[in-house]
């Protein structure tokens, strides 16, 4: 009897040791410069993502601006520490909140993320989360390129959704869809944990981590088409994750008094592009989400007229009861700012014209023509003026 008990105790002990050993191996980072064995699934995936990366490099949607790349690339490098040399960052012109890391070290950041983040700290926590998926080699077996790179359907021009996939469309298409991981909950938790740690180790204010995820979740809630959300596909929402992150933030916050958000540096880097990114966001025609987003951004930086202009456009095009008044108010708010976008006059003119206020429309369109003499729709606005 005694012997049996002794054995079972030591067995339990062994099991315990094995379990923790496994956990450590699971998230062991590969050495920098690692490449997988050629016959493995991993090699097959790397081959596909290498192709996807090559496609990104020559894509018309790649943002090549040196300053912006230096800023975002520099941030990723800082966060990746000794893995910086293994990582290549690509900024891509897609108006979606997303960033992802491919198993071969390529990191893709969508301009939608750069529009929606409020400061460098928020950007850092998102990037830290994403590169943790790479650093910890998560879900290689779950990587699903949204356009099946070897699918015969792709060969015949059938994409998961959308047109214009040619014969060579079998190379993973990055735009609007990108790599979709179906990470397990454990992996998401790990990415949250480690991403949070990376951010705070670099001095970023802990409260910004739950903040940005919360903003994005709020905007997604406004999305009537939630099943197709790119973000939710990558990051299954969970109240538990949000609570955990908030708790971690609350615990970490008092440990330093010099946390940074670097709002100024972030705006300095992104300001030259915001007008374009706002237009791209509006082109999606998803006004419910755009309203929520622009309301937040306008409240965050009230001195920047471009966000209020975006809000005005989103209200006007959403066109629900009371949206006309809300749109007009937003446009006027935009015009009161130093960077008053001339298109706000056009927005007021369109509202007035539809509302039967011919005098108001005439005044607004005239202002638009004066402030934006080279507008590409000037001939149309001139035509409206002849009708008023």
């Amino acid at each position: 009897m005694k012997l049996k008990r002794a054995l079972s105790l030591s067995c339990a002990g062994l099991l315990l040791m094995t379990a923790s050993g496994q956990a450590a191996d699971r998230y062991a980072m590969p050495p920098p410069g690692y490449t997988p064995d050629m016959s493995s699934d991993e090699a097959g995936i790397w081959m596909q993502v290498d192709k996807a990366e090559a496609n990104i490099k020559t894509s018309p949607q790649l943002v090549r601006d040196e300053k912006l790349n230096a800023y975002v690339g520099g941030l990723v490098c800082k966060l990746a520490a000794e893995y910086c040399p293994s990582i290549r960052v690509y900024i891509v012109d897609v108006p979606e909140f997303n960033a992802y890391a491919m198993p071969n070290g390529a990191v893709v950041v969508y301009t939608g993320l750069l529009l929606q983040a409020e400061n460098e700290a928020q950007l850092a926590f998102v990037l830290g989360h994403e590169i943790t998926h790479y650093l910890h080699r998560h879900s290689l077996e779950h990587l699903r390129m949204a356009v099946n790179t070897t699918g015969f359907l792709a060969v015949f021009g059938i994409a998961a959704a959308g047109a214009g996939v040619g014969l060579l469309g079998s190379v993973a298409s990055l735009a609007g869809v990108g790599a979709i991981y179906s990470n397990s909950r454990d992996e998401e938790r790990d990415a949250d944990d480690q991403g949070f740690r990376i951010g705070t180790q670099n001095g970023y204010a802990p409260g910004q981590a739950p903040a940005i995820w919360r903003f994005v979740a709020d905007e997604e809630k406004a999305n009537p088409d939630r099943s197709k959300s790119l973000f939710l596909a990558d990051h299954p929402e969970s109240a538990e994750r949000m609570t955990t992150l908030q708790k971690a933030a609350d615990t970490a916050a008092p440990t330093r008094s010099d946390w940074i958000v670097n709002e100024d540096a972030f705006h300095a880097a992104t300001d030259p592009f915001v007008v374009k990114w706002v237009a791209d966001e509006l082109s999606k025609g998803r006004m419910e989400q755009s309203v929520v987003m622009f309301r937040r951004l306008a409240a965050n930086v009230p001195s920047r007229g471009i966000y209020q202009y975006g809000l005005g456009e989103a209200y006007r095009r959403r066109n629900q009861p009371n949206d006309v008044a809300a749109a007009a108010s937003a446009y006027r708010g935009a015009l009161a700012c130093a960077d008053a976008p001339a298109e706000s006059w056009r927005g007021l003119g369109l509202l007035a014209m539809k509302g039967g206020d011919n005098a108001g429309a005439k005044e607004s369109f005239t202002q638009y023509r004066a402030k934006a003499p080279d507008a590409s729709d000037k001939a149309m606005i001139d035509f409206y003026l002849t009708q008023l």
Binding site: M38, S39, D41, A43, G44, I45, W46, M47, Q48, A54, K57, T58, P60, N148, T149, T150, G151, F152, L153, V155, F156, G157, I158, A159, A163, G164, G166, L167, L168, G169, S170, V171
Partner: protein, 228 residues
Amino acid sequence: MRYREMIALLALGAMLSACTSTQKQVAATAPVNWTAEAGKRVVLIEPDVELSELTAGGITEARADWTTTGKNFIKTDIASSLQAKGIATTSADTITDPHEVQLVKLYGAVGLSIMQNAIFNLPTKKNNFDWTLGPGVSALREHYQGDYALFVFVRDSYTTAGRALLMLGAAMMGVGIQGGQQIGFASLVDLRTGRVVWFNQLVSTGGNLKEEKPAATTVKNLLDGMPL
């Protein structure tokens, strides 16, 4: 938009249902006229090749090792095939110039149309193999110094043992499940005019690009009818 997908689906459906053996569509060819200067030279655009495993669950999983092997066989066999006819070849392995990139992507769109036309038989193309990338191809000509460009595309999947069993079981119940397939095309573009002078399409349920001799057969089939 609905048209493209519908048309693509139709092409796929028709092809697969008809396919139990190699099916080649050899398009009408234009005579090849070499330029007077500098001898005969063809630019080999880096072949777009992918070999994968088709699992029981119907997922195709790319295999890097098979792909490397298969692609090397294809490149070597094509080069030696042309060189045997006294034609020099240059490889355009990594195209980075933005205009050249657009030309290659345009080729993808036009090539797909040519393939789909085997099903749709567009009336304006009846007995009139008239496809072009336009004179902008002169950029490729100047860069790589060739008179013609050869485009090759192959997707090849191999059934795993698991899937083979599944297919057997399903067949016994009267349900057809697709096995591994080989789809490819090879095409020659005149770099002086942009015209597609030859297009050959390969759809097969057989073929093995992982081994030298069968690979040589596939390449021979791919280049069938090439007017060089």
